[in-house]
Subunit: 405 residues, 2 copies
Amino acid sequence: MNISQILQDSCIDIEAWFRRQWRELHPPIYSSMDLRNAGFKLAPVDTNLFPAGFNNLKPEGMPLYVQAMQAAITEIDPEIVRILLIPESHTRNPFYFESVAVLKEILLQAGFEVRIGSLSPDLTDKQTHTLPSGRKLLIEPLIRNGDTISVKNFSSCCILLNNDLSSGVPPILENIKQIILPPVQLGWMTRLKSEHFSHYQSVCELFAEAIGIDPWLIMPYFDQCPDVDFQNPEGQECLITRANGLLSLIRKKYKEYKVPHKPFLVVKADQGTYGMAVMMIDDPEQLRNLNRKQKQKMSVIKGGKQVTKAIIQEGVHTFETAGPQQSVAEPVIYTIGRYVLGGFYRIHKDRGVTENLNSPGMDFVPLPFENLCHSRFYAYGVIARLALLASSRELAIVQKSNIHD
Amino acid sequence: MNISQILQDSCIDIEAWFRRQWRELHPPIYSSMDLRNAGFKLAPVDTNLFPAGFNNLKPEGMPLYVQAMQAAITEIDPEIVRILLIPESHTRNPFYFESVAVLKEILLQAGFEVRIGSLSPDLTDKQTHTLPSGRKLLIEPLIRNGDTISVKNFSSCCILLNNDLSSGVPPILENIKQIILPPVQLGWMTRLKSEHFSHYQSVCELFAEAIGIDPWLIMPYFDQCPDVDFQNPEGQECLITRANGLLSLIRKKYKEYKVPHKPFLVVKADQGTYGMAVMMIDDPEQLRNLNRKQKQKMSVIKGGKQVTKAIIQEGVHTFETAGPQQSVAEPVIYTIGRYVLGGFYRIHKDRGVTENLNSPGMDFVPLPFENLCHSRFYAYGVIARLALLASSRELAIVQKSNIHD
C-alpha cells in the first residue's frame, strides 16, 4: 500500500474538496513545507511561513510562480502596487540573499514595485550585495514615520515579511497601519509548532473522512510539553511521560499496518527553526541521559532564545533518495497563496532515514514535481496543501483577534 | 519607436490597471487572439471564444495551464466537479481533435472529471478516435433529458462549449439549466466581430489614457456594413464609402507617425471564422471589380451561411518572421480565465506581410513567450488581455440579458 498512489487515485475528489475549503479560508501569502515520505505514510514535519530557498526552485517555473503571486495578491487587495520586502537581518548568508533576490524577481515579473528594507539597526545606509549568481541586491535601512514604515522615497501600503521574528516583534514594526503579510503574530516569537499540528490534525481528520482513508497515513502523531528545561532533570519528566504515550500509540499503528521498522520520535523546540534544537530518539529514557552537548543543543534556538516549550512528534522515515550519491532525501514544497509552486529534495549524504536532514552539509536537488493529478508527485502537493489549510486556520485566528483589538 | 518596448516599460502601471479592471469584469472561460505586430503598432485582429489549437501550446507549460483552469473554474463556481465538453461536430480534422485532447488533459490534470459529447446527429454510438499523436479520444452522443444534457452515465452541472455554433444554437442546447461556458449567445451565429472591436476600442481608450499612449498604436481602426451582398453591385456601395473613409483616417495616422508603408484594409464577414471570407485591399475600388471567384469567397462562411454583414478593419502589417524559412508570422495568444497561457506563431511561407496567414499551408511555431514584465514578449500578453477585457464586456451584456429573460 502506497499512500501517494491512493491520493493520486482520488485526485478528482481531492481537488473538489480543496475548492470547497478555499471558500471559507484564506491562505497565508507564502509557505514552505518539509515532508517525509515513508511510502506507507507521507506527512509534513514542519511548515515555514517565512520561506527561504526560493533560489532552489527551478527557474523554468517562473511563469507559474508569477501567476500564483498575481492571483494571491489580487485576492488580498487588488490596489497593492508597491511592496516593501523585509528580509532576515543576519547578513552573512549569500544563499539566503539569493532566495530574497528570486522572491523579488517573482514580484517584479508580476508587475509590482519592490524595495527591500532591513530591520537590522546596524544598517545605517543602503548597501548593495553582489551575490554568487552575479545578481545584485539593494538593501536599505527601514524608516519609521508615524504609523508607517518605508525606505527612502518609497511609500508602500503592503509589507512582505520574510523575517520569522524569532526574537519578537521589533518596536519599528509595532502598531503599523500597513498590511503586513503574513501578520507579525505568525512569527516564531508567538507561533507554536504544536498549534500548527493541532490544526493540521483537524484538517486531516476532515480530509480523511471525505476521501476515505486513515488520517494517520498523512499526519505525524504528536504531543507537547509547555514547560520544559533541558538543563534540569525535572524539566524532562513531562517529555518522557508523553514520549512513552506517543510511542505506544505509534507501535499500535505499526502493528496494524505491519510496518517492519522501529518507531522513533522527534523532540523539537515548539518555536524552533533552522533545524536547531531538534533531536531524534527511539527510547524516551534517552531524554534522561542527555550529555552536556545535547542539553546545550536542545536549550537554545535562533537568536539565542531559551527553549521552554517542546513538541514531540512521531518520526517519519524518509525512504526517498536523490542526488548523485543517492543520498537520503526529503521533499520541500513551496506555496504562494493557494497555489503549489513545486519544490526540491533536501538531501544529506551523511544522514540516515530517521535523521534530521536540515543540518550543515545538506544540499538541494530540483524536484521534477508538478501539481498535476497525473503526476507521480501529486501527493506532495496534496499534503502541502493540507498543511497550508492548517496555516490558514492559524491565520484566521490571528486576523480575528486583530479585528477585535 | 516600438510599442512593445513602451508597454514593457509601463509594466507596473499596466498590471495595476488590469487588477482594477478585473474587480468589475469576469472573463470568458477561454479565448485565443490573433495579433499582428508591425513594430510601431501591435493589435489584435481576431478574438476567438471557442479556441482550438491547444495542441500547439508548449507541453512544458502544462502546470501553468492547469493552475489557470483551476483558478478560472473556482471563480465561476467552486462546486463544479464534472465537465461535459462539446467539441465541433466536423469529425475529419485530426489536429482539431488533438486540441480537444489537450483541453481535456488540462481539465483532468486540474482534477475535473471530463466526458466529451458530440452535437453531431450522425453520431449514434460512442466512438474512439486514435489521433496522430497516439492519444485516444472517446466521443459520445449527447442525450437530452428534460432541461439537462449529458452523455451516458454522466451527469454534469457544467458544459464547456468548444463549438462556435456558426450554424446557430441547435435545439438540444436550447433552454438548458446547466452552466454553459461560454454562453451560447457568444457563438458566431449571434456574435459580431464589429461589436467585439467596438468594445475593444472603448477598452483601449481607457487603457491608453491611463498609460499615456495613443490608442491607435494598439488597435485597428474599423467600420462595418450591416447589410452587404457581394453578389450584387449595390450591396458593395456601403463598403466602398466606408473603406474610403477608413483609409483616409489611417493615412493621416501614417503621416503623423511617418510610417513608410502603404495602408491597407481587411474586409471580413462580421461573423466569419476559420479565415473564411477575408479579403485584403489597398484601394476601395477593388471592391467594385471583384471577379466571380472573389465574390463567391466573400459570400459564404462556415456552415455555408450567407454573408450579410461585413467589417472593414485597418490592416496591420506583420513584420515578425519565424520558422526555418523565416516565414511571415503572427502571434496567437491563449487565455484561460484572466490568465495568459502563452501562444505560438502562425506562419505561412507563401504569404506576405499584409496577407491573411490563416489559410491552407499555414504552420505553427512555439512562441518562447512568458507573461512576465521583463519578457521580450510581455506586450503580447497585454494586448491579448485588452482583447479579453473586450470579450468580458460582451459576456457581461449577454449575462445581463440572460438574467432578465
